[in-house]
Symmetry: C2
Subunit: 390 residues, 2 copies
Amino acid sequence: MSFMLLPLEDGIAGVKGFYCGGVKAGLKKDGYDLGFIYSDTPFEVVALFTQNRFQAAPIKHFQRHQITHSNFLLVNSKNANAMTAEAGIKDIEDILSSLPFEVKNPFMSSTGVIGERLPKEKIIPALKKIKLKSKDEEKFALSILTTDTFPKKIAFEVKLEDGRSFNIAGVAKGAGMINPSLATMLAFITTDAAVPRSDMEEGLKKFVDRTFNAISVDGDTSTNDSVFLLTNRKSKVYDKEAFEFALLKVMHYLALLIVKDGEGATKLVGFEVSGAKDENEAKRAAKALTNSLLVKTALFGEDPNWGRIASTIGASGVEAYEERLRIAFEDVVLFDRGKILSQNEEDARKIMQREEFTIYCDLGVGKGRFKAYGCDLGYEYVKINAEYRS
Amino acid sequence: MSFMLLPLEDGIAGVKGFYCGGVKAGLKKDGYDLGFIYSDTPFEVVALFTQNRFQAAPIKHFQRHQITHSNFLLVNSKNANAMTAEAGIKDIEDILSSLPFEVKNPFMSSTGVIGERLPKEKIIPALKKIKLKSKDEEKFALSILTTDTFPKKIAFEVKLEDGRSFNIAGVAKGAGMINPSLATMLAFITTDAAVPRSDMEEGLKKFVDRTFNAISVDGDTSTNDSVFLLTNRKSKVYDKEAFEFALLKVMHYLALLIVKDGEGATKLVGFEVSGAKDENEAKRAAKALTNSLLVKTALFGEDPNWGRIASTIGASGVEAYEERLRIAFEDVVLFDRGKILSQNEEDARKIMQREEFTIYCDLGVGKGRFKAYGCDLGYEYVKINAEYRS
């Protein structure tokens, strides 16, 4: 079946039956810090969580209640409600039992500083300001931001060739503490597709490795990383191929926006490793490149220092040989199976001045291939993380 | 047997029969860049090399010739002779066959930029300036420096209770590209102890994990990391216990000096993880802490953000539980088995203003213990690595 993706207005609230918005609870000095997503009929929810051993209280709360169906979720920024043990879970229960409206299996998601109790004395009074039937994606997106510099969102109407359609949309946050080897950051994807639970689980798991798990800002994995996929199935329409295509698109786009907004980042750089022994080795090398401080600072300095790239691949422990390795910045080859092509460095330097480009590393060993996305590391990263507690 | 360590003059050249020095070959704009160590009787050599897959040409050369005995080694800075394939090994052979004096099995060691051919047209003419019988450790130490800001050296006379003694000394370089999980940087240790080869190998291997492999500046592992232990056995004296004690002392001291000189670092921080399931897990958590950008920037900002420490331990994948974890900055506890002690943050902040301190993390799971050493990451690190090709 063929299908088309069309733009969708109102984002996650443009999906049938979904509403969202944000209010100011006073966690941020000024600005939206408490967001919500509501559906007028229950949605089914599938979530993937961080692999950090210290999962934050909202994740533990969600798992303890084995939530599969709900119609309301609350998100706060500025405070991660992490390392708060049982008290953190109790805080969530106190907040959710104070909701001034009737909802089903409400749950929370949090982002911000680790190791401080949730200021429920600020959150509970603010719950009254929530207007369940808002369609205000902008305020929701703002509510979940911490050091992010822009909201991250995307929305499609997926039109099948027989004229029927369903909608899918996503909003995400994340700018620091993004690690490629584990889960992700906060991402909320709503859809009205009549997708069965098994396909929701399959799609999320299948695509997370190529999207949220393929990006790195600083190699740190948060206690709170979560991806939620919610469907109320209101469109009654479903086509697996079209759904998977659109879901991957949403996840990929949100993931790239997160790297692009990497703390202090000025460049979005793809690292495509091919010719590795297998996909796992390709992934290991590609992720090592996104995490190497020496590579990241060379990107910031726009120095085509391919030697640091080679060294990082070598240090990652994957099977590799100087006589087989090939490194190119876009189509400019700098090292070709044992030969140093320094005459091409000036061309590579020009490519590095771009905001987005790809570095190709072919190991010449096998057929493994993986593309990871990273960013440069500059003074701003140090400033953001040394001077502010985020 | 009891023994004493006494200070030794002339460092590695204070060891009987050893000589060293440095000359200017023009690799650096101005400054010593070509150093040597010579012994007037052959020395036995044991070396440990980087686990980077792309070992530099001097390492391949050393291994190809299966060097166990020699009396001369040449070291250059500014150029790593790495990723130079067969041509890099040929360059070494050309240089060593141009030595204007008779030596036995000479070998090289290099540090500097990866991916450029060694400028032998500069090095070969400079060989004439070498005075084999120099005792100039300062010039040798300067010759091997790249972004280091000070030479790193230590020397002892080891006096046994029966009055006999032997000498041991070490010189090292390393300031960036120091990774804890693999080998090290350049370190040269000379001794005149009558230590058998098996004990040399055993000692180096046993202590490298607790010293050079326990430090991290930026988590990158160079293509050139090497530790050499040379003995000419001139003292004819040996006592295993005393030798091991002194060797560990030399390695530990040099390793700490390297972290202290970490590019742009202002603090030397120990991360002592105890109560881990086993020593491996303790090591994994401790090393993760030394490599976390969020931890390193918090150290630079003197922010007692223990939440980032907890999160990094959690992300390292070791067995850990909120209810058992304890985090202290020196004797100031900030998190005690599920309890947040924010009232102690001001005290912790004062400790962080010190140049050296230890962060203790007890996991409360088992008996595994490991101490790793790291440094903070500030603007200078970015400046050094973005603006200069080192």
